[in-house]
């Protein structure tokens, strides 16, 4: 599904990702854990196509190098980033935004665009599962949403767009236990043999709910260790210090 080869990313003189390599197979769930400032969020932004980075290397997605594609083209091809800090956009209403997004992706995939009636029934069905009230769908995008509502909204968008690769950037941050469970259930419901996940997190907590196939430790712009889900539990006990020392 995704193969990152020798990815180097910098902003000005500062190198953030260094010879970064990662392969994610179809249907696999990978977790990347690491201390603050290790480059995890940069990785998620670069995969989603954010401007402002100097990028060198290959990002092969479904056998195509997407390094030069714009963010919208990547999303249309099936990459989805659930943001760590979903931005508030006043005046852009949820329903309008979701419908525009869904139809842009459907159009790119050669699928029929949905009309208002189809859209409303679809969005309500997904929202209900995530405990999102209808009233929230009539509001401006993320404006006045609580931390939990914002994260649930990210999962709602993910479930509507049905991506092939979902990147979750610290989706657990700012969530209480109940909200974490709802979000994790939402993600688990989307797991399928055709869909891959890259979960970025500081803590093992989220991984109690979403069991990864692989756990990677990222320090200072590179992956320094890879293991199974047990690695996350170890990290929870010993922290990242040992890995940071090794560099």
């Amino acid at each position: 599904m995704l193969s990152i080869e020798k990815l180097n990313v910098s902003v000005g003189d500062k190198k953030i990702l260094k010879d970064f390599n990662l392969k994610i197979g179809k249907g696999e769930v990978h977790a990347i854990m690491g201390p603050n400032g290790s480059g995890k969020s940069t990785l998620s932004y670069v995969l989603a196509g954010k401007d402002g980075y100097e990028v060198d290397g290959k990002i092969m997605f479904k056998n195509e190098n997407i390094v030069d594609l714009e963010a919208d083209e990547r999303a249309q091809k099936g990459i989805f980033l659930a943001f760590q800090y979903p931005i508030e956009i006043p005046g852009v209403f949820m329903n309008n935004f979701l419908k525009t997004s869904l139809n842009a992706v459907r159009k790119a995939k050669g699928q029929k665009e949905v009309d208002v009636v189809e859209f409303l029934s679809l969005v309500k069905q997904h929202a209900k599962k995530l405990g999102i009230k209808d009233e929230q769908l009539g509001r401006a995008l993320n404006v006045g949403f609580s931390g939990g509502e914002k994260k649930r909204n990210e999962v709602l968008q993910m479930s509507l767009l049905e991506p092939d690769l979902a990147i979750l950037d610290e989706t657990d941050s700012g969530l209480d236990i109940d909200a974490l469970k709802i979000v994790a259930d939402g993600v688990n419901a989307l797991r399928s043999p055709n869909r891959s996940f890259l979960i970025i997190t500081h803590y093992q907590r989220l991984l109690d709910y979403i069991k990864p196939d692989f756990v990677h430790v990222m320090v200072n712009g590179s992956i320094v260790k890879t293991g199974c889900s047990k690695l996350a539990q170890e990290l929870d006990k010993i922290g990242y210090k040992e890995f940071q020392k090794a560099i």
């Binding site: 989805f80 979903p86 931005i87 956009i89 006043p90 005046g91």
Partner: protein, 405 residues
Amino acid sequence: MNTITDIKEVNELRTLSLNLFNKHGYPTKKDEDWKQSSLNNFLQNNKQLEIYKTSNETINEKVFENFKHNKIIIVNGLVQKTDFIEKDKLIITSIDEYYKKNNKHLSKLFSNKKNQLVAANNALANTGFYLEIKENLDLPIIIYHQYNSKIDQKQLHQKNYILINKNSKVSIFEKFLNENNNTFISINTNIDVELNSRIKNYILNSNNTENCIYRFKKVNIAKSANYESFIFSNIIKTIRDEVEINLNESLAECYLYYTQFLKNNEDHEIKVKINHLAENTQSYQFSKSIIDGTAKGVYQGKIFVDQIAQKTNGYQLIKSVLLSDQCTFHSKPELEIYADDVKCSHGSSSTSLNKDELFYLMARGIPEVQAKRLIVQGFLSEVIEKISDENFKNYFLKKTEEMLS
């Protein structure tokens, strides 16, 4: 029919105004209030424009809205036709007729202070209307202001007076159609909003890049009365919208909303002065502009609070987004406060398009052009959402969508 010049009192007031105008002449960049004005150039270069005398004019019916409303059609400043569904609730005559019947207390309508263009209008206006709202109207009034090629290369001064009687509510929508060229149009409107009455005044300021237009409104608001205005501006050039509001008695309120979308070499100026002259009065200004190309936007907004105007609540927020490197937006917020128990705030920001917002939308598969459009539409809609008349709110939201598509 009497003309304005037949009335002695009016003649005297006009002479006073003419003297004032002759003393100061047209405004220049040296006048603080006109520093950023693009009207200066036009006026300095076209001082000799002939004054147009209105006669019977042809009406363009294509621009009529298809929802139910009371119609007033004004061509080249003169009321040509009215079509009222609620006939008993309003009166319209020419301004001359009004002067004839009320010739004792006209000085209020001719106050100039230091504004040269208002003085010129007071001295030279030979057309205009008087509109009186007698009681609540269920349907809006639409005033179609139409200008045709007969006034090409001329100047037209129009003076209007709108009176909203006590306990009356009305929505007045003004729609402008300019089919003329190189004209200076000056429209000076006095509005009296009497005890416990309410006026919603919406303006579609669109498609005029060939003429110089100065619209001045002076609004007097009485106790518990309320004035709400919204001006939607796009595809315009050399237009100045100016309003002076007097909150004369307690619980008087005004709400002023503006959106403008200017591109190419367009420009638009907004000038607001709000005078809080009594206790417990409230004013609210909210303006949002999108500026592109080499366009220029100007917003001058002043809140004045008199010594006796305790418990004043004044608010002003001016935001603009600049889409190109060559466009400009000048914002000049001012507060002048002489009372000590007041709540006044003002904020002004000019930014480029928010890249994080753009990335968020694009990361959801929305192409850049469409994403920008959504952001711009959302930015302007935030003001339009404040409009209290639901029908007109939806009308302008739709206009915004059409403007961007």
